[in-house]
């Protein structure tokens, strides 16, 4: 591997306008500056319409800024996408229902031209990482929602990207499964040392998972505050600790915008 870049993600002065010049023109993001250092776990939180998903998709180079620049691993976001520098997971796990779990995890490797034996080897590793070793031959619709998300994470990590982009991956899960998945994600993060950018609309989830919580305000999307979360190692009891509650309160307060005041 080459030298690790200092910044995994660098967003500078980014503005994103949809439907430019049309009557339904919308400013989704306004003057966004964000730097994510290597190996960090950063959450983007905000009400719907705050542009958090758009920001994530800008980092993924699935859409492009109207103004400003996005760099990933010291390259342009587009180049980073072509270099397969990041893996992505969506709220709908977006598994291919005609492929077994093994074949789903293999998909990116197949597209990237890995040899069959290397693919097999890697899939076994990934199934082990997300604790689904017994389910390789199953089809997605035979798995629970939480299991499907684990497969999506395994698929996103299978080709060893340095960056993991997650768009409300646990949004469709029930509360118990969700907390369980959060613990597992942190475990994976600790083991693999990836940089994670995580979009969510759950305050406790953002606080529990991240080192930094970026709070965004809507219409147009802006960064309202940048809260660092140092509440030590996350364990089961963390969610019941006063420090955790304090941080949850801090984020909740930061999310209290004056609705409609600027109109």
């Amino acid at each position: 591997m080459t030298d690790k870049p200092t910044c995994a993600v660098e967003v500078s002065q980014v503005t994103k306008v949809f439907n430019v010049g049309k009557p339904n023109q919308v400013k989704a993001l306004d003057d966004i500056n964000l730097t994510v250092s290597n190996g960090a776990f950063v959450s983007l939180i905000g009400p719907s319409g705050c542009g958090k998903s758009t920001l994530l998709r800008l980092i993924a180079a699935l859409t492009h800024p109207t103004e400003g620049t996005v760099c990933v691993n010291d390259k342009s976001a587009d180049q980073a996408r072509l270099d397969r520098d990041y893996g992505m997971a969506f709220q709908t796990s977006a598994l291919f229902k005609w492929r077994t779990i093994t074949d789903n995890i293999e998909l990116p490797l197949q597209l990237m031209g890995w040899s069959r034996s290397k693919r097999k080897e890697r899939v076994v590793e990934m199934l082990d990482l997300v604790k689904l070793s017994e389910f390789g031959d199953h089809y997605p619709n035979e798995l629970s929602g939480g299991m499907r998300q684990r497969v999506a994470i395994a698929r996103a990590l299978s080709f060893r990207p340095s960056l993991l982009l997650m768009d409300e991956p646990f949004g469709a899960l029930d509360e118990m499964t969700r907390e369980h998945m959060q613990t597992e994600l942190l475990e994976i993060w600790n083991r693999t040392g990836k940089t994670v950018v995580f979009v969510t609309h759950s305050i406790p989830e953002a606080v529990f998972l991240s080192q930094r919580v970026i709070v965004m305000s809507p219409r147009p999307g802006r960064i309202a505050s940048d809260i660092s979360v140092d509440i030590g190692e996350r364990v089961f009891e963390t969610r019941e600790s006063p420090e955790f509650f304090a941080k949850v309160t801090e984020v909740r307060e930061a999310l209290r915008f004056d609705h409609g005041a600027d109109e």
Binding site: R57, L62, T92, F96, W98, T100, E134, D137, L165
Partner: protein, 314 residues
């Protein structure tokens, strides 16, 4: 086996059993309907006959509803018996054998036309997927192509086939022209459903493919084509019957002998001397159509069950 695995296994097993039950139920319903249909036909005929016998001048039958005399509605038993009888005094085989042979001939044309039409339809769908502009431009012509009466273009295609296919490495036979006519009816539903199917790919999955920097070709083969499979099978069912109809009409209007079309033409022109023969041939054509659709359903079952039920082969 873990508990979760056990549950998953149980679910698939249950699904499979349900699928089998549904299949059996479908067959039973089909057969029941067949019997009901036969009874309705016979019942209506008997009803009309009784009114005739009573010499009452009931105005409905013969005016609004079809007459029930043996020329208009030959008895079901006579139609069925006709299959075992030679269609002409000097013919060596029973009518059933003639119909079977003709069906095979027509089926060959229809099958070739079907596969060519599927290829053409898929090709058009992929081209339309590539460009919004082409999709908009091409669609009206596709629809227009189906409004041209088949009887008008069939002779043209047959003449083209016999006159200008000399450059081919094999000898062009007229039945191949009929296959082209069958293709003409087949490609349309495949193209229309094909484009819908290709566009049905999950938007998140499409973004995923983009995030992998997958090529358009990879996206087509790995994501869009598999997503379109359920749509395609719906189209194949329509296309299968369309191919049979196209082949029969093509034979009739192209003057091609050997198939069901010719048989229908022959028996229609001699209807008054034996309506049962035409009825029997029509039944034969219907059976051929059902077999064609049945083959598509079978293929669908095999392909789709591979997606779901094969999960537990170790």
């Amino acid at each position: 086996m873990t508990i979760r695995e056990e549950i998953a296994f149980g679910v698939t097993k249950y699904e499979r059993r349900e699928a089998r039950k549904r299949f059996v139920r479908k067959i039973v319903v089909f057969l029941v309907f067949l019997v009901v249909l036969g009874l309705a036909y016979t019942g209506y005929k008997a009803f009309g006959q009784s009114i005739d016998d009573a010499q009452t001048d009931w105005p409905v039958i013969g005016a609004i509803m079809p007459r029930t005399d043996d020329l208009t509605m030959p008895p079901l038993s006579a139609i069925l018996a006709e299959f075992g009888q030679p269609p002409q005094r000097n013919s060596s085989k029973p009518l059933g054998a003639f119909i079977a042979e003709a069906s095979l001939f027509t089926f060959r044309e229809a099958a070739l036309g079907f596969f060519m039409g599927v290829g053409l339809g898929l090709g058009i769908a992929v081209v339309m997927l590539r460009s919004r502009w082409l999709e908009r431009g091409l669609s009206p012509y596709l629809v227009a192509s189906q409004t041209i009466p088949l009887v008008a273009i069939a002779p043209i295609i047959v003449i083209w086939g016999s006159n200008s296919m000399g450059w081919l490495p094999f000898e062009w036979k007229t039945w191949m022209s009929v296959a082209i006519i069958a293709m003409y009816l087949t490609f349309f539903p495949v193209a229309m459903n094909g484009i819908k199917g290709l566009q049905s790919a999950d938007p998140a999955a499409l973004e995923l493919m983009r995030s992998y920097a997958a090529s358009r070709r990879q996206t087509l083969i790995r994501l869009q084509l598999p997503s379109s499979v359920p749509f395609l099978f719906a189209a194949f069912k329509i296309a299968a019957t369309a191919a049979i109809v196209g082949a029969i009409v093509g034979e009739i209007s192209g003057g091609v002998r050997g198939g069901l079309g010719r048989l229908i033409l022959d028996f229609a022109s001699r209807y008054t001397t034996g309506p049962e023969r035409l009825y029997a041939t029509v039944i034969g054509s219907a059976v051929l159509g059902i077999i064609a659709v049945g083959l598509v359903i079978l293929a669908e079952y095999i392909v789709l069950s591979k997606r779901r039920a094969e999960a537990h082969t170790p």
